[in-house]
């Protein structure tokens, strides 16, 4: 490989020194740093795990689920190889192809769409996953791991098939929405003939911190979200709850499962409820984010505490039902984003939370918890799950010639 000039000045490669490797965190970002590190930072593309999981959550998301339009394994493998090359280039702040945006031959359609020209890498990470339907489509049913099975329908689900499922997914996260969109757009374009977009989701304002170096952000209910999230600095817990171990097939060991849920929030009715009701539903106070049994955000919640009217943290409070204690010690790495997809045509904003979680076994970790939330969570009155998908996320690429999906489809 010859060294190439960054599409964005000198950031691409020079910035690698300041890069956050998948599992590490750059020193010097204090607890009060509310964002990931600066627009020019680059996230390392290769490593033992894919970037975009324990990477300190960037501000913006463009997530896309795709379906295969070809059942030719060779064509799919070729595409994944092309995608990998383009993804690695883009995450380092370069065009999809050298000189792609402004080709020397003006009669040629530009290979790179161009809207990221002059923009820094913006901590772009690209994460790739495969859905259960891919295995059927490619005749690989014998290779589908058992946990990669369609999620059950939960009580109150109002899932739109056009916003659910998918043979493949690409998660682009960046601190600049234009960088994330550019990445997805160029990969989608390269996929025509082999893949088509099934659904996609833009997100802003990360709703979870995935590093102790990040302040806890707020969701559209106005509450801090993800206080008790797993963090990049807790490798043992990640091994226990996030990374697939020896129980998984070769091609998935060191990978994870990605659960995506598009959750519409009825913000208009929520906004009319009293502060008191809001805090009892969540189980935390709105200002600090402290559990109702404490005074500071990171005080542990005392689920056993009893007040004059019963449990201080109510039986149907969100944090109780979602807690590890209530779920047999199960935890997950959440990495969701807020969304506002315009309006619903009936005078309300189409707003909510695009929930993304990485787990070692979705059937064991996500399903029981969501079942409990769907049935008992007081917050359910204000929520509507409109989209749902599950993907297996292979481990990171280590060797220089490794490409997405090679472990599954062969090299």
């Amino acid at each position: 490989m010859t060294p190439r000039v960054s599409r964005r000045g000198l950031f691409g490669l020079a910035g690698a020194g300041a890069a956050l490797a998948g599992a590490g965190v750059a020193a010097g970002y204090g607890l009060d740093a509310a964002t990931s590190p600066g627009p020019s930072a680059t996230v390392e593309f290769r490593g033992p795990h894919q970037a975009g999981i324990v990477t300190p959550a960037q501000d913006r998301l463009h997530f896309v689920a795709l379906d295969l339009t070809s059942t030719d394994r060779g064509a799919v493998r070729d595409l994944l190889q092309r995608w990998t090359i383009a993804a690695e280039r883009m995450t380092s702040g370069r065009e999809t192809a050298e000189g792609g945006a402004i080709p020397a031959n003006a009669n040629a359609a530009p290979a790179d769409t161009g809207e990221a020209l002059g923009l820094p890498a913006a901590s772009l990470s690209l994460t790739f996953g495969v859905g259960p339907s891919l295995f059927t489509r490619l005749g690989l049913d014998d290779r589908r791991p058992a946990p990669l099975a369609d999620l059950p329908r939960f009580q109150g689900d109002r899932l739109d098939p056009a916003r659910s499922g998918g043979d493949l997914c690409l998660q682009a996260c960046a601190d600049d929405p234009q960088v994330a969109v550019h990445a997805v757009r160029n990969l989608v374009r390269d996929g025509f003939g082999v893949t088509e977009v099934r659904w996609s989701q833009l997100g802003f304002g990360r709703t979870s911190s995935t590093s102790t170096g990040q302040a806890t952000p707020r969701n559209l209910f106005g509450f801090k979200d993800g206080t008790n999230n797993l963090k990049a600095e807790e490798p043992e817990l990640l091994d226990e709850h996030v990374w697939v171990g020896d129980e998984g097939p070769d091609w998935l060991r060191g990978g994870s499962y990605l659960v995506a849920r598009r959750i519409r929030m009825h913000i208009e009715t929520w906004d009319r409820s009293s502060l008191d009701e809001q805090q009892l539903i969540v189980g935390r106070d709105k200002g600090e984010g402290a559990p109702l049994t404490g005074t500071a955000e990171f005080d542990p919640a005392d689920l056993a505490a009893i007040g004059p009217g019963g449990p201080v943290i109510p039986a149907d409070a969100h944090i109780r039902l979602a807690s590890a204690e209530a779920n047999g010690g199960v935890r997950m790495l959440r990495r969701g984003y807020n969304f506002v997809d315009g309006s619903d045509g009936r005078g309300h904003l189409d707003a909510g939370l695009f929930f993304v979680a990485f787990v070692r076994d979705p059937q064991r970790q996500f399903v029981p918890m969501q079942r409990a939330l769907a049935r008992h969570d007081a917050m359910s009155e204000y929520l509507e799950h409109t989209g749902s998908a599950l993907f297996a996320v292979p481990p990171g690429l280590t060797g220089p010639d490794e490409f997405w999906g090679a472990g599954l489809l062969g090299r």
Binding site: N107, A108, A109, R189, F192
Partner: protein, 378 residues
């Protein structure tokens, strides 16, 4: 035409003689250097010889069936080497086609003027002299495409005439049946027609297009609305006459049109853009819902432009041609699933899933087609 000496110099004059005689002659030639006869019926395509030497080859086609037919000679990738369209029942037409390279070709009759036609392999032996430099290749490509445009215009004029006559006679059913058929020839060459900016709005304008004050809603879509929605209006015959005038004007102007290879390549892409934005959406034929006829015609026009450039594409990027073949074929196969008699199902009969499949197929085709311009100019 190159001035290089030809091995079969006599063929040109022979061919010219055949053209003069071709209108009535149906007797099979005793002499192998004479025209190859084609007996086209509703179910068969009887070609009197399966082989011919390279150079000018003459086919004398007679339609002994009951449907209007077409005859094609295709090269690799369905490159149209030559074609005759709109041969009515009982009529004979000649096709003289210049084939400089030996190899495998395909003859096809298309009774009813639709589908892949009744095909047979055709072998050309030896080689006539030909230039191999890019400039000559590109010149041959544009010349070939210009012939295609001429052939479409030659069919567009009489077919539009039939449509216009039906409107003026107040024969609504016949006019409705002819509407998508006459538009087929228009849609195949739409980018060429659009290059005459003043004609296109008159022929193919939509009701809600912005127009200068005093300029009315005319052309195909105005008559479409009359036929399908409001019933024929007092001024429908005048609008029909105007359409005929405009089509004749277009026909006269296409004779002088000079296209560059880049325009050809971009035209191929634009036709697919038309499909994506006008046909797949049901926007174009919003009253009749005959969008799939236009869809097919746009794709055929795109394929003809790409096929004309094929020798250049094959030399500059050997991988692109087969990919284009495969993707054109995928679109064609998809469309075949929506055939209904000699035509297609109506747009209103499509489900969202049908439309999604079409979008995916057109996206898959449009990407490699968008590479043609860069490839032939590389």
């Amino acid at each position: 035409m190159s001035t290089a000496p030809r091995t079969a110099a006599g063929l040109a004059s022979l061919a010219a003689a055949a053209v003069l005689a071709g209108c009535t002659s149906t007797a099979p030639p005793a002499d192998s250097a004479g025209p190859i006869t084609v007996n086209a019926t509703d179910t068969a395509c009887e070609v009197s010889a399966g082989t011919a030497p390279a150079g000018n080859i003459t086919f004398a086609i007679t339609n002994t069936g009951s449907k209007v037919t077409e005859f094609y000679l295709y090269g690799v990738g369905d490159r149209i080497m030559g074609e005759v369209e709109n041969i009515g029942p009982g009529l004979s037409r000649d096709l003289i086609v210049e084939v400089p390279d030996g190899g495998g070709y395909t003859t096809a009759c298309k009774p009813g003027m639709s589908g892949d036609g009744i095909r047979a392999p055709f072998t050309v032996t030896g080689n006539a002299q030909r230039a191999t430099d890019t400039d000559a290749e590109l010149a041959a490509a544009t010349a070939g495409y210009t012939r295609y445009v001429s052939s479409q215009v030659e069919a567009l004029v009489p077919k539009t005439g039939e449509f216009v006559d039906a409107v003026k006679a107040g024969d609504v059913e016949r006019a409705k049946a002819l509407f998508p058929v006459s538009r087929t020839y228009w849609e195949r060459i739409e980018p060429v027609a659009e290059s005459f900016g003043d004609i296109d709005p008159k022929i193919d304008g939509r009701e809600d297009d912005e127009r200068d004050p005093g300029v009315g809603f005319t052309g195909y879509h105005r008559l479409e609305k009359d036929l399908w929605v409001t019933g024929l209006q007092p001024d429908s015959p005048a609008v029909a006459d105007q359409l005929m005038t405009d089509i004749n004007d277009l026909a006269a102007r296409t004779k002088t049109v000079e296209l560059t290879p880049v325009q050809l390549a971009n035209g191929a892409k634009e036709l697919l853009d038309e499909v994506a934005t006008g046909k797949i959406t049901g926007e174009e034929d919003r009253y009749s819902h005959t969008d799939l006829w236009d869809f097919q015609a746009n794709v055929e026009g795109s394929q003809a432009a790409v096929a004309a450039l094929r020798p250049v594409i094959d030399r500059k990027d050997p991988a692109l041609g087969p990919q284009l073949d495969e993707r054109f074929q995928a679109v064609d196969q998809l469309l075949q699933g929506y055939r209904d008699g000699d035509g297609y199902v109506l747009y209103t009969q499509l489900t969202p899933d049908d439309v999604k499949k079409m979008t995916a197929a057109i996206d898959a085709l449009s990407e490699p087609v968008s590479k043609v311009a860069g490839t032939v100019t590389a």
